[in-house]
Symmetry: C2
Subunit: 188 residues, 2 copies
DNA sequence: GATAACTTTCAGAACATTTTGAAAGATCGA
DNA sequence: TCGATCTTTCAAAATGTTCTGAAAGTTATC
């Protein structure tokens, strides 16, 4: 009744969309992303065409509030954008269709929200045990324990730093992942 | 009183460990991993030495049941292993110390549990709209809608297939990520 | 500037996950 | 085999997250 101008033309399209939406929602919840947020995204992604709040409410059986908050979050993540459709007062929403672009957008956000703060916190943590013990070596064991602790932290830091650099590359380069894949297939 | 044979030697070690544990737990919950599971892992990781259930309970203020279930899950993920210490009836646990190995282990598990089933489900989903409409083209719009739907699904499939192949490489190759990072830093 | 159409907000309800603790189940040594 | 020690299980409780719906807010039109 809503977005069916297209989807009702073939009776296989709706079930196929529903399947995809369910799939995407399932996967998202593995990754700590709210199911309904993923479902809204999935529907916009697979539908291709812009949809309005009422379309989404009807198709996914969610409340107006939920639709509104979910759409807001998706826009903050940069994966969904508003569209105005002339002659209609409703807001329409559409998902980024290019999967590579989508991937880079998500990576950029996660780096900003998670990797960057983590790196900073790790460095702070490392500084807690930076200098040798204040009053000389009280016990020989203390020095060694701190040293080992630091060695462990340092290798963690090195690893996360590398992930960080890698993310940066993937975000910047248009076909970074493709390049990585190709190269890895040779370099393994 | 428990694992303090080492950690009490320097008064900075305990706070530093606590900081790291908190950090790791924080990060994990961003990724849909139970906080206390990550905290147990973090403590074993940063402590280096094997610890028993009572050590963990005391250090993290968790119940015996929680410790037991968490340790079980960590072992299933392959990131923590049991150790027997002679002369002690308690079970001890230790975390894999090599961060690269740790990374590959986690990647292997996530691929098995998430990417592989996702790919299969996506392919099934794709088959729902595989053949052209049964009773010839009922409307010209129906055919086009299906075609566009299929195009979208296919690009999704292509992308996930690539992620899958990349994971495989990273899991197999000892220094895959390092190679990728190095090469990308030139190839960008 | 009043009305109608649409969107956002947010407190509480519904739902889901995680933790607890006590009981049952192992395992070991004698 | 027994008793002591340690581990696992699981139903219920605690906690945390997401969703709802009605009210408040906003915007466009006349």
């Amino acid at each position: 009744m809503f977005s069916d101008s297209v989807s009702s033309h073939d009776e296989r399209l709706k079930p196929a969309r529903e399947r995809f939406v369910a799939l995407w929602g399932q996967m998202a919840s593995n990754w700590g992303i709210p199911r309904s947020m993923a479902e809204v995204h999935a529907l916009l992604l697979i539908a291709g065409e812009p949809m309005n709040t009422d379309d989404l409410m009807a198709a996914l059986h969610i409340s107006r509030g939920s639709a509104s908050m979910t759409l807001k979050a998706l826009q903050e993540w940069g994966v969904v954008s508003r569209v105005h459709i002339r002659g209609d007062r409703k807001e329409y929403f559409q998902a980024e269709q290019d999967v590579w672009k989508l991937f880079r957008t998500i990576l950029r956000e996660r780096k900003k929200r998670e990797i960057d703060p983590l790196l900073e916190a790790l460095r702070e943590c490392r500084e807690l045990t930076g200098k040798p013990p204040a009053g000389a070596a009280r016990k020989i064991g203390a020095v060694r324990a701190i040293e080992e602790h630091n060695r462990r932290l340092d290798s963690m830091l090195e690893f996360i730093t590398m992930i960080d650099a890698l993310s940066e590359r993937l975000i910047a380069s248009g076909k970074g992942l493709e390049i990585a894949a190709k190269i890895l297939s040779k370099a393994s």
